[in-house]
Amino acid sequence: MKFIIALIRPEQLPDIKQALFDSEFRHMTASTVMGTAPKIEQKQFRGVKKEISLFNRIRLEIAVEDSKVEAVLSCISQGAKESGGYGKVFVLDLVDVMTVWTDDRGEDAL
């Protein structure tokens, strides 16, 4: 089992979520986070400069069986490219899973 963490821009969420849903991946968690980018951005507020180094981002978390990792990654990639092509994805080994409602463990709990 693998745990996939995708860091994307907020405006990319609808496209990526749609691509995942279209391929029947319907379990995910999204949270609003802040992250750095390659460049520091200059913005203004009331005409005065302001440096922005942390930007609003979405952190998407998906747990899947090993056999489905490539499919999920290609959905994320496809959705992300429809909306600017930004993003970074981390794939981690997942040791165990438990569903509280059924007490299922491992792949049964995914």
Partner: protein, 437 residues
């Protein structure tokens, strides 16, 4: 406390006391005081519109909608000063007026000071213009909006205003629109409809099979305070339209009708929505208040309080039906500008021909009071002619804007939110409360 009241009363009545030499001066001072106070209240309705529209849109577009509302005041006031007043109230033909540009050569005729009259009319223009921002919210370019705002205030609104209030052809026919169900609200509502149709729906509003999604507004507290501010301002909007302080019965009747119609509107929309959707919905209920207010605006002076309740109740049901009709037609109106102002502007105007009473000042009784179909026919003709003109004129206006600066932001800008892409600004900087869904 008593003393504070004493002094404040003194200052309030100062113009009256100074002019106490003869009674006509007292009358004129009271008229002026009344119209100016009402104008100030109508001006405050801009805060109401701003809060309603910010509340009903998403966090990422709040700065943009507030900016559009703010600039409506700027564009409407100057546009109406330079061009609008001359077209609406200048001497001309039955279609439009032609003199008084920049208010040059316009003088008071011994009655209400012309500046007081101008101010009262100018804040009405701002109201009509700002209705549209809700209908085209979350996707219209800011530059395009500025152009639209100037053109409706300087040209389109003044022309339809001239027809009814400036001695134009509808006034000659006996068309009755006391405070502007048609002139202000149907004009704004139909302009919003045209804008919403030409822009197309927001991304995500309709599924591929055509079924509608709801896109929730981000702040119900802002929506609620906005509606109450509008409701408060509406007492000035309707009662101030008497343009004089001579008939206490009239002003009192208008005020009670304004309260009762809106109260009936929230009851009707809440219960109807509850029955239809299973839960009492705050946003639809508050839309019902505005629907009742728009509905009573044309006839507030010539209907009884009981009639006002009936008019407001029907408006409260109509607003929900119109919201559903737009969803069925795949037209995306984020705040319900057309259901509230367009649909019920027409209803309120027609209602005069049904519920209006000769004993309260209308030329002939409405059909419920045995006056036949005469007034009703004129009301239907007037409101539909105005709506048709607005639709054609606004189609041309939006088309010109589309061909020059473009109407709609890009897909990426829309998804990112107009606050960031158009203004590079966040509405709630420091709060992590936004999503793009």
């Amino acid at each position: 406390m008593k003393r504070i009241f004493h002094y404040s009363t003194f200052f309030l009545l100062l113009p009256v006391i100074v002019n106490a030499g003869d009674t006509s001066n007292i009358q004129l001072s009271l008229d002026t005081l009344w119209v100016l106070l009402a104008a100030f209240m109508v001006f405050f309705m801009q805060a109401g519109f701003g809060m309603v529209e910010a509340g009903l849109t998403r966090t990422k577009n709040a700065v943009n909608i507030l900016m559009k509302n703010t600039m409506d005041v700027g564009m409407a006031s100057l546009g109406f000063f330079v061009f609008g007043y001359a077209i609406m109230f200048g001497n001309g033909n039955s279609f439009m007026g032609f003199d008084g540009w920049l208010l040059l050569g316009v003088e008071s005729d011994g009655g209400l000071p012309v500046y007081a009259f101008w101010l009262f009319q100018a804040v009405f223009v701002g109201t009509a213009a700002t209705i549209v921002s809700g209908g085209v919210a979350e996707r219209m370019k800011f530059k395009a909006y500025l152009l639209y705002s100037l053109l409706i205030s300087a040209l389109v609104y003044p022309i339809v205003g001239h027809w009814t209030w400036g001695g134009g052809w509808l006034a000659d026919l006996g068309f009755y629109d006391f405070a502007g169900s048609t002139v202000v609200h149907a004009t704004g509502g139909f302009a919003a409809l045209v804008g919403a149709m030409m822009l197309g729906p927001r991304i995500g509003k309709f599924n591929k099979d055509g079924s509608p999604n709801s896109i929730s507004g981000h702040s119900m507290p802002l929506l609620m305070i906005g509606v109450i501010i509008l409701w408060f301002g509406w007492f000035g909007f309707n009662a101030g339209s008497s343009l004089e302080f001579t008939d206490p019965e009239l002003i009192a009747r208008i005020s009670i009708n304004t309260l009762l119609a809106a109260a009936a509107g929230i009851n009707a929309s809440m219960f109807y929505g509850w029955f239809k959707f299973g839960k009492p919905d705050l946003a639809l209920t508050l839309n019902g208040a505005l629907a009742g207010l728009v509905g009573i605006t044309a006839g507030c002076s010539v209907v009884s309080p009981l009639s006002a309740i009936v008019i407001g109740s029907i408006a409260g049901v109509f607003v929900i039906l119109a919201v559903q009709l737009l969803d069925k037609l795949k037209i995306d109106d984020p705040v319900g500008a057309f259901p509230v102002h367009g649909f019920n502007g027409v209803w309120g105007t027609i209602a005069v021909g049904i519920f209006g009473q000769k004993s309260l000042g209308l030329a002939t009784d409405g059909i419920l009071f045995g006056g036949g179909f005469g007034q009703l026919g004129i009301q239907v003709l007037g409101t539909l002619a105005t709506a048709l003109f607005v639709v054609i004129a606004m189609y041309v206006v939006f088309k010109i804007i589309d061909k020059t600066v473009g109407l709609r932001v890009s897909r990426e800008e829309e998804l990112k939110g107009l606050d960031d892409s158009e203004h590079s600004m966040e509405s709630y900087s420091g709060f992590q409360i936004f999503t793009t869904d």
